[in-house]
């Protein structure tokens, strides 16, 4: 790494040493590529669910004896998560303008995200009590798989967001981590409405 600065050559005319400065920072580019792979992962899960549902015999979907998914109650979770995405976007705008409110906006985004995970947890407890389990039906299997995978991503992203918030509060944030965490959080946020629309309805 340090060798990059040990550049003894005199630059001749016609070659611009700054020509290949990174347009997109490493952390953002790396995370974007990761997000593409992750989007394809969820595309795989959701299309498997769609195919499986479309192949069900007439009258067997929704599954008899299985609870309906609480689409109205989940709207609250959805709003909390989407709001959290917008708040984090606001934090980025504030951070770029060096406004001190940025760190509190990140904290607010974390709280909203954590509320989403908590509400999801409550919903799972209710559904389990109502008889929808992983092995009770294909609906249950797909529901817990897809929503659970998204939940795991949300929890991981909350961890990253917590580190970013801590660095911002301590004033040690340089940027790379913040951008990377943002990309991952937007991925989690944007994935959810698609899952909500494809799985709950």
């Amino acid at each position: 790494m340090s060798l990059a600065t040990a550049q003894p050559e005199v630059m001749p005319a016609g070659v611009d040493r700054t020509a290949n400065r990174a347009v997109v920072p490493n952390a953002v580019l790396g995370m974007l590529i990761f997000a593409v792979a992750e989007v394809m992962f969820f595309v795989g899960l959701i299309s498997a669910f769609t195919i499986s549902r479309s192949g069900a015999m007439p009258g067997t979907w929704p599954m008899p004896g299985q609870p309906m998914l609480p689409k109205d109650a989940t709207l609250v979770n959805t709003v909390a998560l989407v709001l959290s995405g917008f708040v984090l976007l606001g934090a980025q705008v504030a951070w770029a303008k060096k406004r001190p409110v940025a760190k509190w906006l990140v904290v607010a985004a974390w709280v909203l995200g954590a509320a989403f995970v908590a509400l999801q947890g409550r919903e799972w407890a209710q559904l389990l009590a109502a008889g929808l389990t992983l092995t009770s039906s294909r609906l249950g299997a797909f529901f817990y798989l897809i929503v659970g995978m998204h939940g795991l991503h949300a929890i991981a992203a909350l961890g990253g967001l917590a580190v970013a918030a801590a660095q911002l509060l301590r004033g040690t944030m340089k940027g790379g981590l913040f951008f990377g965490v943002q990309v991952f959080w937007y991925f989690v946020v944007l994935m959810w409405p698609i899952i909500y629309a494809r799985v709950y309805f």
Binding site: L3, G14, A19, N20, A22, I33, F42, G44, A141
Partner: protein
């Protein structure tokens, strides 16, 4: 660019200063070259595993019921496990690590002129995950029930329940190893793309990047865009195995064909994930050894991108007899036949590069030429299988086996041997023995054709591929069919024996070979401007600047027949 400053790198891996300990240097390194070596040697070790398994089951096919020397009697369960392991190992633990991980890690920073990957610790983690996955796979041979025997495609319902596969632990370990391996390559791919986007040497524009680097990048993007659905499928299959869900098990209302879609959505782009780097290696070698500019650089690049895009729309040609809608089969027949066009175009461009060049038949050049010739056979026979009408007859016969070995053997072995013999002087600072290299070349290529041409003939006669003992199928024992099987097996033994020549040549050259100069092949690309082997940080004289494309051989304005990318023109550069 003097070499005098690097005299302290005369001995193998002898770094002069701040000598790191053994573990730090060989096992816990973040240096892209060391990680590449780790991938290369692990891949070579796994190739021995893959070679041993094929030896055992081919002996059973040629001489059913015999006690195979070094293995013993191959039972039906053994046979399934051996075939499955052979396929999985050769694709996931040999072709992928050697062609993408080892060469990508080694070549990308050197060829684009930077000191390391942008995420070196991620890179180290990538190898460690890969190593664990390899250990898990090999260990699955020694658990109760033995290794997984449901073929490398792992179709449910066979793979979904221990009661069906009879290898409960083995199938779970197989699945876990594959999933872990994908995670490893995901980390590697993120590294590759980010590094090439952000760390190119000053002056290196998009079209100054060597084709092999482009190919590895396109392959990495293909991998990352296609692997998601398979990881989704793998998790669903894991749930079926461990938690008793019924995603794929028809007994529980699941859909086994769904797995085939998820698997082949990845599985077919995967073919191009390994093909493209091999194509790139060949491009580098044929330009250097025909002393000519690569014919139609941009055509190769756009063709590769086109191949990559198209490869996402061909997957269902693996499922023509799986009960998919015939109208869908028609669509996938058309896309499958279409994809032969860009690949044929690349081969045509390579032949155009050779045309009129002053060709030097060194060992790497022989491998590169053999790649073009043998891969062509694989591609042409693929057209028969891509047409759904013909495929219904050929499906699951040895014609298919021969076809994909005519593609995968050139990719995984001919491509790797071309790369190893070409970059060996750079990797280890020693020259390989040319004579023994050529002996190994002919000793590999000739038996290779004698293995798989008989299998084409068997396949045309309807020889089904998933049979353990043909003595139970009198229709498949008629008029010389067993002779063809024996011919294939004996050719395999010859081929395997000649790999000893390679290993001896490799290790003897590594320790005793003559010292390699900085640029033994008079090549243009940046890695040849670094010392052989490059020290930590790659370019001790300072990171290079780039003034021209990678393939300016036999330029009329220059006395030498090559023009390194780092050398400016005496006048201001023309482009």
């Amino acid at each position: 660019m003097s070499t005098a400053a690097h005299a302290d790198h005369g001995h193998d891996h002898a770094h002069a200063h701040h000598e790191p300990g053994f573990v730090e240097k060989y096992l816990w390194s973040t240096d892209h070259k060391m990680i590449a070596m780790q991938y290369l040697f692990t891949g070579m070790a796994m190739a021995l595993v893959g070679g041993f398994t094929v030896y055992a089951f081919r002996m059973q096919l040629a001489f059913p019921g015999m006690s195979v020397p070094g293995y013993g009697r191959v039972t039906a369960t053994d046979y399934n496990a051996l075939v499955t392991t052979h396929g999985s190992v050769m694709i996931f633990w040999v072709a992928m690590p050697v062609l993408i991980a080892a060469l990508g890690n080694y070549l990308i920073p050197l060829m684009i002129g930077c000191d390391d990957m942008v995420f070196p610790r991620l890179n180290r983690l990538s190898y460690q995950l890969f190593l664990i996955s390899a250990i898990i796979l090999v260990a699955s041979f020694y658990v109760p029930g033995g290794a997984f025997g449901g073929a490398w495609t792992s179709y449910p319902p066979l793979s979904a329940k221990a009661e069906y596969s009879l290898t409960g632990l083995g199938s779970s370990m197989w699945l876990f190893a594959v999933a872990l391996e994908f995670a490893a390559f995901l980390l590697g791919g993120i590294n590759f793309v980010t590094t090439v986007m952000n760390s190119r040497a000053p002056g290196m524009k998009m079209f100054d990047v060597p084709i092999v680097v482009w190919m590895i990048i396109i392959a990495s993007i293909l991998f990352m865009a296609s692997v998601g659905p398979l990881i989704a499928g793998a998790i669903m299959l894991m749930f079926d195995q461990q938690l008793g869900t019924g995603f794929f098990d028809p007994a529980k209302g699941g859909d086994p064909v769904l797995w085939q879609h998820l698997f082949w959505f990845f599985g077919h782009p995967e073919v191009y994930v390994v093909l493209l780097p091999a194509m790139g290696i060949v491009a580098e070698i044929i330009t250097v050894f025909s002393r000519k500019k690569l014919f139609a650089y941009k055509t190769v690049l756009y063709t590769a991108i086109g191949t990559g895009v198209l490869s996402f729309f061909v997957w269902a040609h693996h499922q023509f007899i799986a009960g998919i809608d015939p109208r869908m089969a028609n669509v996938f027949s058309v896309t499958t036949l279409l994809i032969s066009i860009p690949v044929a175009e690349m081969v045509f461009v390579y032949i155009g590069t050779l045309y009129g060049g002053s060709i030097r038949l060194t060992t790497p050049m022989l491998w590169a030429l053999a790649f073009i010739a043998e891969f062509l056979l694989g591609g042409v026979t693929g057209i028969f299988l891509g047409a759904s009408g013909a495929d219904i007859y050929f499906h699951d016969t040895y014609f298919v086996v021969a076809h994909f070995h005519y593609t995968f053997f050139p990719i995984a072995f001919i491509g790797s041997f071309a790369a190893i013999t070409y970059w060996f002087p750079k990797m280890f600072g020693k020259m390989m023995n040319e004579t023994w290299g050529k002996v190994h070349f002919w000793g590999t290529i000739i038996p290779f054709n004698f293995i798989f041409i008989p299998l084409f003939l068997l396949g045309i006669r309807g020889d089904h591929r998933r049979i353990y003992d043909y003595r139970h199928f009198p229709d498949l024992m008629k008029a010389g069919m067993q002779d063809l099987r024996i011919l294939a097996t004996i050719s395999l033994l010859v081929l395997l024996a000649f790999q000893v020549v390679f290993l001896v040549n490799f290790f003897v050259s590594l320790f005793r070979g003559p010292k390699a100069p900085m640029n033994p092949w008079n090549a243009n690309t940046l890695e040849w401007q670094a010392p052989s082997p490059p020290p930590h940080g790659n370019f001790p004289q300072g990171l290079p600047n780039v003034y021209r494309g990678p393939y300016e051989y036999s330029h009329p304005d220059r006395k030498d027949d090559y023009w390194p990318q780092t050398e400016p023109a005496s006048e201001p550069a023309k482009t």
